[in-house]
């Protein structure tokens, strides 16, 4: 028993010191795997006419600058005929904003939204997300928890829950929505620190990553 727990500790230490060395091939394979699981495609945001319209609208409404929406945010749409993940990068091709590892994280984050949409119903999810800032904050909290879980598991880093939560100001959420998000992220930290994986997309990602990198 003692030997086993020492082994587990050393595996965790190795993970902490050596996050998975992901390559472009790994990232493309990861996106292919996650997209196949959720029956969804990836569309380059800059190639999408509908996303350009949304960017223009958000910009004119003063919610989010056009460039920021198109270059710094990935967007998920769970409803046909525009169902898809609209990414501001090509999976597997890193750039100054999107490292290979951040592409793994954002894929998991967006796939968690797909799971939320399947569970709540695609139309109900979309309606709630658009019309209620409290619901939007709640859905984003679940997706940010994926970022927390992956960062702690593979990089040994605890992301700042307040920093994550207050990003929601850019999503039309109030300070109270952000505070609620921060609190529910913090409340799950003890479980995540003990290795629990709360979010379904994290479990899918970890299954794939651990097998790919022999960390199981």
């Amino acid at each position: 028993m003692l030997i086993r727990s020492k082994t587990l500790r050393s595996v965790r230490l190795v993970r902490l010191l050596n996050p998975p060395p992901v390559t472009s091939v790994d990232v493309r394979a990861f996106w292919d795997y996650m997209c196949a699981r959720h029956n969804v495609g990836v569309i380059r945001k800059s190639d999408s006419a509908s996303m350009k319209v949304v960017a223009e609208l958000l910009d004119r409404m003063g919610v989010l600058a056009r460039e920021s929406f198109l270059l710094a945010h990935t967007t998920v749409v769970p409803i046909r005929p525009v169902r898809g993940i609209y990414a501001p990068f090509e999976p597997g091709v890193p750039d100054e904003r999107w490292s290979l590892w951040s592409q793994i994280e954002v894929c998991t984050h967006e796939m968690n939204h797909m799971v939320q949409a399947e569970r709540a119903g695609r139309w109900d999810f979309s309606w709630d997300y658009i019309t209620s800032s409290a619901a939007r904050a709640h859905y984003e909290a679940g997706a940010y928890r994926c970022n927390l879980e992956l960062a702690l598991r593979y990089r040994g880093r605890v992301l700042n829950c307040g920093t994550l939560a207050y990003k929601l100001v850019n999503y039309g959420c109030s300070n109270l929505d952000c505070e609620t998000t921060e609190k529910q992220l913090l409340m799950t930290l003890p479980a995540i620190r003990k290795g629990a994986m709360i979010e379904p997309a994290t479990r899918e990602a970890v299954d794939w990553l651990d097998e790919r990198f022999g960390l199981g």
């Binding site: 309606w127 619901a135 109270l176 913090l186 409340m187 479980a191 709360i198």
Partner: protein
């Protein structure tokens, strides 16, 4: 009247609030819930899905973690059975 008819589908689409106090937490059926800014309870973690040792309960805050209900190991619980 037409205006009210237009509002009808909107009102049907908006669930009634639970009248909880935003930021409050509770356990319900093994789930940890938080009260949102719209005064509605929402589940943020289903403790039984984490494994058989996890329970939903109240715990005093430790370091950056505030006091409240969430999934903990039984020895971390201040009140073992916190379901209202």
């Amino acid at each position: 009247m037409r205006f009210l008819l237009l509002l009808l589908p909107l009102s049907l689409g908006c669930p009634m609030p639970d009248d909880c106090t935003p930021l409050d937490t509770r356990c319900l059926g093994g789930n940890a819930q938080i009260c949102g800014s719209d005064q509605r309870w929402r589940t943020f973690v289903k403790c039984p899905t984490l494994g058989e040792n996890w329970v939903c309960c109240w715990s005093e805050g430790i370091e950056e973690v505030p006091s409240g209900h969430s999934c903990f190991m039984p020895d971390q619980c201040e009140v073992p059975d916190a379901d209202p």
